[in-house]
């Protein structure tokens, strides 16, 4: 019973779509805006940006986050930079080229019109962030500096040392602080959205748990914006913060929002390798390092000599060899897969069987140690603290790690999900990156969605009218709150023998082995069976100490894991259905002779959007056809 989804892309030439759409959009007059309540969940670049921008316009905004303050949203951890087609470097960049690079980088599985709009807005983002006081790196002449990121042949990445995400987020936080002071935004820190309330077919409220008191609370609104990030912690070990979770998105999915392309996950090529089972996370080493670092493995399998003892002619700089046009700066999916190929063949760094070298010897010789320290010093320090090895002297050991999820809730061109009045922004939606995201594009999308797109599309939705008053005393709120209470009571009442971490670790292992960098039909079927069994065991044998009525981190983690145990299965199903390789989704059955991803455009040039059917039932598949009018679809090559 699948249907074809309508992305509601405006007509006209691609370069004019957004402007035309803005003209067609309805507006809410300034004096009327305060009458509309908008809930924004999340305070990262997308959520915090949206809340601030909506506040500036005069809407009555309520903004929620799970952290103790909005300044800690996970956008803070992005290191390398943010893309914009400013062409400040005079190297041939343009809106068209950023658009082209992004669609190609996503392996022709993103929605053309959305990506074009993103490219157009990229320049306004840099200007706005600069105006907010974000201290971007500058040249001696006073202009902004740029560097290169993977998958492109221009320098369009703006940065603030190795802390670009932090600085952009603090910009958002400052704008948000100003609106909170002005009274347009009311902030709810340490509040976790646990479910969505739908009244008369429209998203009208949320149920939150106050993470300090444990109290369940109801909030109503005229429109709701989810900007709650991705789901990489389904792998247990990832570069994400330990509290990142999919619960708000997944609970909305269960209430009717379709989930698109869950199998599109980004395994980032350069993280510090896993060193033991005790670990709680993996630490990213920024993609910017590949501007100057060279990736290599020993030529001989099983060569465990210290890297300083391996002479130049016994090293294989495999990215430079296989992809001479882009060299070490191939896109993430390609660099990650290549690292796996080498280490699977027994060629790896000396301390860990699953790692390759990222070597700065040549860069230090060419630029001097001071310049390298100025560019990457904080990353080198982080590495040294974790591995206890000096990367100025010995090449870094790196290995791919789950990092970002391109899949997410399905949205149309207006960022509206399949539930009316529920908008989804940033990593939580699916639309802009296709099957692989290029480096420095996540911050760009977060800012574009938050600052620029959400205020327009939500305004248009509110201008259309037809929204009656809704009170939290409505039965719909009581019923959803009861569901949430029942669920958390159940978690506490299992009183089994295995901890939440135990189960999460096991889920992560299955996901990494079977739904990770390489997937195949048998493995995916096996994963589905294993996850089902694990989910049953979880609800029979988990132990969650304490009670619901106060601060209880274990209970929070248990609720989030319960959702990952459902989402993980859907990821495997989606990967099983997609009988092709594209971007980060690599099916071993579908590859070219030289081991590259082999797409099947005839059968899979689509978005797979899944509809929840009830516990224990298979989800229904809906499709959006991807149509490329302004880009010639080609085999992706970086050679």
């Amino acid at each position: 019973m699948s249907k074809i989804l309508d992305p509601k892309i405006p007509g006209g030439p691609i370069a004019e779509k957004w402007d035309r759409h803005e003209m067609e959009n309805g507006l809410v007059a300034p004096a009327n805006r305060r009458k509309f309540k908008v809930i924004v969940v999340g305070t990262g670049l997308a959520g915090g940006g949206a809340a601030a921008a909506l506040g500036e316009l005069g809407y009555n905004v309520q903004n929620f986050c799970i952290n103790d303050t909005p300044r800690r949203a996970h956008s803070v951890a992005a290191q390398g930079g943010i893309n914009a087609s400013k062409n400040y470097q005079n190297d041939g960049d343009s809106v068209e080229r950023l658009f082209y690079d992004t669609v190609k980088g996503g392996d022709y599985r993103s929605r053309e019109a959305n990506v074009y709009r993103l490219s157009q807005l990229s320049m306004d983002i840099i200007d706005h962030c600069t105006a907010l006081g974000v201290p971007f790196a500058r040249e001696y002449g006073g202009g902004l500096a740029n560097r290169s990121f993977g998958g492109v042949q221009v320098s369009r990445t703006f940065y603030a040392r190795g802390q670009t995400g932090q600085q952009l987020l603090l910009g958002v936080y400052s704008a948000l602080s100003r609106q909170i002071e002005a009274g347009t935004v009311k902030m709810f820190p340490r509040h976790e959205m646990l479910d969505l309330v739908i009244v008369d077919g429209k998203a009208r409220g949320i149920i939150c748990r106050d993470l300090v008191t444990g109290e369940l609370k109801r909030y109503e609104a005229d429109a709701i914006v989810l900007a709650t990030g991705g789901y990489s912690p389904v792998y247990y070990l990832s570069t994400n913060a330990v509290n990142c979770n999919a619960t708000a998105a997944w609970r909305s999915h269960r209430r009717g929002a379709l989930f698109a392309n869950p199998c599109y996950t980004q395994i980032h090529p350069t993280a510090i390798p896993q060193m033991g089972d005790y670990q709680s996370k993996l630490t990213l080493m920024s993609e910017s390092l590949r501007n100057d670092g060279r990736v290599w493995v020993p030529m001989k399998a099983g060569d465990k000599r210290h890297p300083s003892e391996i002479p130049e002619n016994e090293r294989d700089y495999y990215l430079e060899r296989r992809y001479p046009a882009f060299g070490n700066l191939v896109p993430r999916d390609i660099a990650a897969r290549a690292a796996k190929v080498e280490s699977d063949a027994g060629k790896s760094a000396y301390m860990s069987g699953q790692s390759v070298y990222l070597d700065f010897g040549e860069a230090i010789g060419r630029l001097g140690r001071d310049v390298v320290a100025d560019r990457y010093g904080n990353l080198f320090d982080m590495y040294e603290e974790i591995i206890s090895d000096n990367p100025y002297e010995t090449p870094m050991m790196i290995y791919p790690a789950p990092h970002y999820t391109m899949g997410g809730l399905w949205v149309d061109y207006n960022l509206q999900s399949t539930i009316e009045g529920l908008f989804v922004a940033g990593e939580a939606n699916f639309s802009d990156h296709g099957a692989n995201r290029l480096g420095a594009s996540a911050l760009m999308q977060g800012c574009a969605d938050g600052y620029f797109i959400v205020p327009r599309v939500v305004g248009n939705y509110l201008a259309k009218g037809g929204l009656g008053d809704v009170s939290v005393d409505n039965d719909a709120f009581a019923s959803v709150e009861n569901d949430v209470r029942g669920r958390y009571d159940s978690l506490l009442n299992v009183k089994g023998s295995r901890t939440v971490r135990d189960f999460h670790w096991e889920l992560g292992r299955v996901m990494w082995d079977k739904v990770g960098m390489a997937r195949n039909g048998d493995g995916l079927n096996e994963a589905i069976t294993t996850i089902k069994r694990l989910r049953e065991e979880f609800w029979q044998d988990v132990i969650v100490p304490g009670e619901a009525g106060y601060f209880n981190k274990q209970l929070e983690m248990a609720g989030r894991l319960a959702d990952y145990l459902e989402l993980g299965e859907l990821m495997a199903r989606d990967a099983l259905r997609r009988e092709e390789s594209c971007g980060g989704h690599f099916r071993e059955e579908h590859k070219t002779e030289d081991g590259e991803a082999k797409r099947d455009d005839e059968n899979f040039m689509d978005v797979a959007a899944w509809e929840f059917q009830g516990d224990g039932k298979d989800e229904t598949l809906h499709l959006e056809d991807l149509v490329y009018e302004d880009i010639e679809v080609k085999t992706r090559s970086y050679k």
């Binding site: 907010l132 400052s174 100003r178 630490t283």
Partner: protein, 252 residues
């Protein structure tokens, strides 16, 4: 993989809503030197959870030193024995087998304790809201390169902007002063032309809010700078005083 250590902990425990707490002794075995300090606490919490006991609550998120969520006083020092690191970056290799480690929350009157090692730092947010921003709306900015900023000023602004808002400066100050935190934001915006129109008002309002929250005055002990995981310099405090004075004298 190295030999496992045994670590003895004295941890501050305080139930939600209770006024008083106490130190409780725990022993954690099989601690590896590669573990982070928080992973060692995770291990303890796994043991407690299996026994059905309430785990030790502490805040953490990114676990790579950038979000500012974590913050423990370890052996009497905010963020532990190493300089320029957050609690989550501390590794167990800096401790020895059999060592007794005291673990406390960031204590200060404007940081009310929620439970165990978790404190409420919303007072920091309330200070920021008084002026830690440039008043510019989305869509009204000029081209970034139309506003040249010297590399020196941009770098100085960035040094100050590195503050992660963890509160270690407050926890280690004998006066519980928030001067380093507040001065980092005032300083960042004072180096940039974008911040100029509101500089006087900003300094006055943020300092007034800092006082209203109950943070103490700075008396130049320098403990804040010593524990700051991002090495924010106390030069910023001198700069904040200048900004405050200029504002108070009716400058811009």
């Amino acid at each position: 993989m190295s030999d496992a250590m045994t670590i003895h902990l004295k941890i501050w425990r305080q139930d939600c809503g209770q006024k008083d707490g106490r130190f409780v002794d725990y022993t954690v075995e099989n601690v590896l030197v590669e573990m982070s300090f928080l992973e060692m606490l995770d291990l303890l919490n796994e043991q407690l959870a299996r026994k059905g006991e309430r785990p030790v609550e502490f805040d953490s998120d990114c676990r790579e030193g950038i979000c500012g969520t974590c913050g423990l006083v370890i052996q009497g020092i905010a963020h532990g024995p190493n300089s320029a690191t957050t609690t989550c970056e501390v590794r167990m290799r800096h401790f020895s087998d059999g060592e007794i480690i005291t673990v406390e929350p960031f204590r200060a009157k404007p940081f009310p304790l929620i439970t165990d090692l978790v404190v409420d730092r919303e007072s920091f947010d309330r200070i920021q809201r008084k002026g830690g921003y440039v008043s510019v709306n989305v869509g009204s900015a000029q081209d970034s390169n139309a506003l040249p900023i010297s590399k020196y000023d941009a770098d100085k602004a960035m040094d100050a902007a590195s503050c992660i808002g963890c509160g270690a400066c407050v926890a280690s100050c004998p006066n519980a002063s928030a001067s380093l935190f507040v001065s980092a934001k005032i300083s960042q915006l004072s180096y940039l032309p974008q911040g100029a129109p509101e500089r006087g008002k900003r300094a006055l309002a943020m300092v007034a809010q800092m006082d209203a929250e109950g943070f103490g005055n700075c008396s130049n002990h320098g403990e804040c700078e010593a524990v700051c995981p991002k090495e924010i310099s106390i030069e910023n405090i001198a700069r904040m005083r200048r900004e405050f004075l200029k504002g108070a004298l009716g400058g811009k």
